[in-house]
Symmetry: D2
Subunit: 417 residues, 4 copies
């Protein structure tokens, strides 16, 4: 295991404190809203991530007494193998425990983990569960932001999450260029952790080779201005551009622009409230169907995840992340292959599935990723709401094709011959 005890303890503290910072702008009432079954209340995110450490680290010690045994049922998310769980769509009904009690729970679990670190009581398995738990919590930090954004947007008052977020700068994006790749056998994926020292989720392994055809990749994500041209050209009225299910949703839900754009297509809801849409910034809050339709309209296509990862391996993990405290995608003036990481998750053309030879983690944690490998699509690269040290070239995010509440955009690809 790569991280020694001190580094792991420091990481644990840093990640845990970051969650507290994220909830700081919110009232207990804000922290309770669940605006749709797909989203969870802030308070639930705080409690569930804590439960994860209690259940998979602390409870390995037979002397540990759970903080509140009844909460196990409330804060288990989907681990069938460790017991039944509260219905997901009802998470927003939990006024008790209060946010204050959940914060006390966090403090108590943190103290227990810290104490275990201090007395060297954590064996290899426990240290692994802690490391996994911190990555798990970072995922929930991003969900916390996207969920609260949706929750606040559902309030007709359209309140901001924070009033102090830096506005978009006046950056001008580079013109879109095409970067060509020849046909090649490329290696993608990451070695299975914890056998390998470097952390990666089970769904990133095993590393394997893929025959990638000749193609070109756009130098940057699609911008708001470019997407606006698609809207203005009638993109939402032309069925030939859409997947059949996507078109059905356009019709049934009356879609005509990305989620959070206003009717005039001039302003958008952000974590800082309603703001002018920056035409230079990457377009965001698109479903897979919208990303795919845009690409077809543009005479291009979405990249496969192998194509994306091949390119990303050449790029540094740089960009606008949650750490930058803007919490909204920004334009970049970088040249060449730009913005592979941060700003917006990029929809790929790849259905989410197991790599050849994929094995889930052993035991209950095997439920972490594997059982969702059906019906979802892979997104790559992280967003303005992702912690910088959470993402990497092999990282695979996944959502359902209609999902729009994540910071999801796209980068074009096209075949070359």
């Amino acid at each position: 295991m790569a991280e020694d005890g001190d580094a792991l303890a420091a990481r644990y503290r840093r990640v845990r404190e970051r969650s507290l910072a994220l909830v700081a702008p919110l009232s207990a009432e804000d922290a309770m809203v669940q605006s749709m079954p797909d989203a969870s209340p802030t308070k639930w995110h705080l409690a569930h991530t804590t439960w994860f450490f209690e259940r998979f680290v602390l409870e390995c010690d037979p002397d540990y007494r759970p903080y509140e045994p009844d909460w196990h049922y409330l804060f288990n998310s989907y681990y069938q193998s460790v017991g039944p769980m509260h219905a997901r769509p009802s998470r927003g009904l939990l006024s008790r425990p209060s946010l204050e009690q959940v914060l006390a729970y966090r403090a108590r679990v943190d103290a227990a983990v810290d104490a275990a670190f201090a007395r060297g009581a954590l064996d290899e398995a426990a240290r692994r569960a802690i490391l996994l738990g911190t990555h798990h919590e970072q995922q929930h930090q991003e969900l916390l932001l996207t969920d609260i954004k949706h929750a606040l947007w559902c309030n007709p008052l359209r309140p901001a999450y924070r009033d102090d977020l830096a506005p978009a700068g006046a950056t001008t994006a580079q013109p879109l260029e095409w970067i060509a790749f020849d046909e090649a056998i490329v290696g993608i994926g990451a070695p299975a952790w914890p056998q390998a020292a470097e952390f990666a989720y089970d769904n990133e392994s095993p590393p394997h080779r893929v025959l990638v055809p000749a193609h070109a990749l756009a130098s940057r994500p699609v911008s708001n201005a470019e997407y606006r041209a698609f809207v203005d050209d009638g993109g939402y009225r032309e069925p030939m551009l859409w997947m059949s299910e996507g078109w059905a949703r356009v019709q049934a839900e009356g879609l005509r622009a990305p989620l959070y754009w206003d009717d005039a297509l001039e302003r958008e809801f952000t974590l800082g409230g309603m703001r002018e849409i920056d035409p230079q910034a990457p377009v965001c809050h698109l479903s897979y169907f919208e990303a795919d339709a845009y690409a077809r309209w543009a005479g291009a296509r979405l990249p496969s995840e192998a194509e994306w990862e091949q390119a990303a391996r050449m790029a540094a993990v740089e960009g606008h992340f949650a750490d930058d405290d803007r919490l909204h995608p920004c334009a970049s003036a970088a040249e060449g292959l730009a913005q592979m990481f941060g700003d917006v998750w990029e929809w790929t053309s790849s259905a989410y599935g197991g790599y050849p030879g994929f094995r889930t983690l052993p035991g209950s944690l095997g439920e972490y990723n594997g059982k969702f490998m059906c019906g979802q699509w892979v997104l790559r690269g992280g967003s303005c709401a992702t912690p910088r040290d959470h993402v990497r070239a092999s990282y695979r995010n996944f959502f359902y094709p209609p999902d729009r509440w994540q910071f999801s955009g796209l980068r074009l690809a096209r075949d070359e011959r």
Copy 2:
């Protein structure tokens, strides 16, 4: 108008303070839960009742500036004639305004109303709207209690609303007796207010005569022990006892006991938490379908509202009300026609409709009652959650036949010849 200015101002203050007392045991989080579309969050009740005074009293003064004009949309309930409104099932998503802000809103509106009283600025129409508003708020006080009861019950932790509620006493109910009534033309209903001095809702008027057949009325509501016999006798398994729609719901929802009874049929959820079921107390939280099926099983029927009101006119408005601070139905040792008022609302056999010659209140307040006269059933007599001075012999409450979250029970009737 019966109440002079001082009495009205005192009533206003008393009712408004009572609402604050009801919310005192709750956290801001508790006050935000909406457990089903039929129920509203406590905070919404507090804000909507305040909006009622602002909209129908204060805004009659052209110089009045609304506290927050945007809130009009949030806290209008169903008055189409005064503007559009927030979707009812989404009331639970409103973390903003906060409970604190809503309480400040209440204070500000109360101050404005008090000041208007003080400077004698309220004309006849305004005073009427205030009186109506206090009765309106009392209705919401009862809903606040039934809604928060349901909300807390939806939490697997089953927290109590209050820990200091007096438990049921050891009262033994009287044996059930039948009180006979000959065929008669009886007068029911109340004179239309505000033409008449005494307050009554528009749905109670006009007074009119009804030919009531010979019948007998049970001396007290059906008790938990009696209802338990119905359950034990297979009442929930025998379709011949049920209305067709009621039976469909028994099957679809797996009903087998009143709402809030536990699986062992021994304990029930109350505003004071889980408690032993008192066999002597009136059975409660029944749907119309359950009340009707029980009556059929018992060889009896539900009383019509005219039968009920004829009897109630002979009784004093005495019983266990919200003022008694028990907030749960209790047995009574009273003899003769007992417990007509308080403890449990009594389902009648009468569909809720307008009396002959019924006219709604003029203007927007005409939307108060009339437009709901379809598909609901009349309940009579008030409950343990009703303010004592809110109910009267002519008072008509109404809910849909499947509704079970009110304090709803029944009293038997039967034909005599």
Copy 3:
């Protein structure tokens, strides 16, 4: 029992033959369509009415062998006490038995009933069940027509049920007049059959007295021209005219005219295909919500069923019935209280419930009417699709307030003082 054996046998044959005449214009495919869960396929109506005689008459003879025992499950409608039944919304999936087989089943049962008549094998109970069964079949004859009308209308080709139906004449309706009634105690209802000789459904009994207030009744039903004025005046856009649930449906379903009117409000679908709307004819295919909103717009109200029956007792059962083979409402030039019977069922203001002292028929036939006495509204008078000898002054039809596929219209009433 009033009808002697010969008369009953003749009635049986006549009613049974009428059903065959009704199916004659239809193909086996037409006879299978179920366009919504509320409606049934023609074939099912034919089989169910036959099953009724097999189950409640022939099977009383212990030597009788059911035609196809498996069909019991298919053709039982809602008699829980005689066994389980096929799900109502799935009736349209039954390609087998074929229409031909169902007609053979009818012939076989008819032969058995005829034979029983011939050999005098029918006891009192059997003869009663036969009489009830013929009235039951007449109800289904009307449903057969309204259901096939809806089914054919759902076909974009809009085929006619029959091409040979007489078109509306050029009759001019009389101007609407108001007929005044003083306050009175009136007797309504019919003596309970079979104790009384004259047939009536259980829901019409017992006869009882009702105190009816002073009021006036319109001399004829509302016409298409009058209803069109309501539409043109924005009746479907003014929430203050509607019950709350009715308004919600207007919004959700985009209602703007009676069912079967075309977008131009000039033509309507009839059993004879698309035809010009006759402005003089009674308006038809209204929901209770539409009838109620129209009455409010017109400054009037719907009559109670007692008001309606009091007037109907003075009128002869004359009008346009199914026997007239027009199958569409027509104007009438009759003077005075006109068109109480036939043409259109008239929505009343009365919720459907049991009369004081109501008792269901004993045994399984007790499921016939009683268990539907919740949530439905009473209509009176019969329609152009009702057999003339099926209706009477005391007859109570009942449907749910949103239902529009019956031949349902309205007659206005108003309070007098």
Copy 4:
């Protein structure tokens, strides 16, 4: 184009006659049943496939007068670019046109196509549309069988489609063996038609190379006996074996065996009625979720479509097809890699998507396949209901993961190292 005019005309006639043979055992009523929105009535299949030739072949002749212009709306399936269409779930409501009229429509269109062949009036584009149309019709022939099987099963009488189908023989299947494949770059897919002479759907092209890892493939599909062991071992009760969505469906729908198995797990519904389950025959009517869960339970996995196609290229297109007139999967005594074609479609682990460089057909026929490339899974190899000359090694079938009404089974694969 490979097929010359005579061969194409012969193929046209053969395919069209086969459809008529398939409908022969059915009544007009049978031909109208639509048992779920995913399925279509037999009559609709017959009309739609005919419309395809009328619309895409005959109407290219400007002098052609459509048979019934109104039917265009009824029998267009999903071609948005040629006009609006009847709602899919309402196809079962179309009693008109009758089966007889649809058969007349077929005859008329066939005569017109034959005449065009005879006079040499068909240009290259028309001949291509005819060839595509025959393949299209073959797909619908299989759907016709699976849809009518489901429709008849929904009838509680469980009638057989045909009474003369040969029962399963007494064949004993070979023991399951594993056939190993080394890592290799393999070519899969078919050249794009019509540029290439050989017919293939657009979704099979372009041919491309894939790096396939070392693996082994089972020598035959999983048998009923093997699947029964999974059921008996509690496979439907163990969440760890299932995809998350699959488990949710097991719970919600109470699944415990393949579709069409009876409660005793001994008999199954077939097109020949209820029959004993042959333990040696391939298991059938599984969803992707069931196939995937079985594979996990068996310590194996599903093959990718590249793995499947690599093996299938070595095999002859032999097996039990629709032409064999059994219409139910049978055991095979073949040795080595057996039953790759026919009997049951084999679920793969591959999400259905476009191959690298995929292009849809030009024009309206581009809607044929491409717009469904989201959310479905690939099945390979054809079934007992597939015409023998319709399938090939590169053929890609696709359905949604929960779909069970196709003849869908599985073959195991496993990683080798």
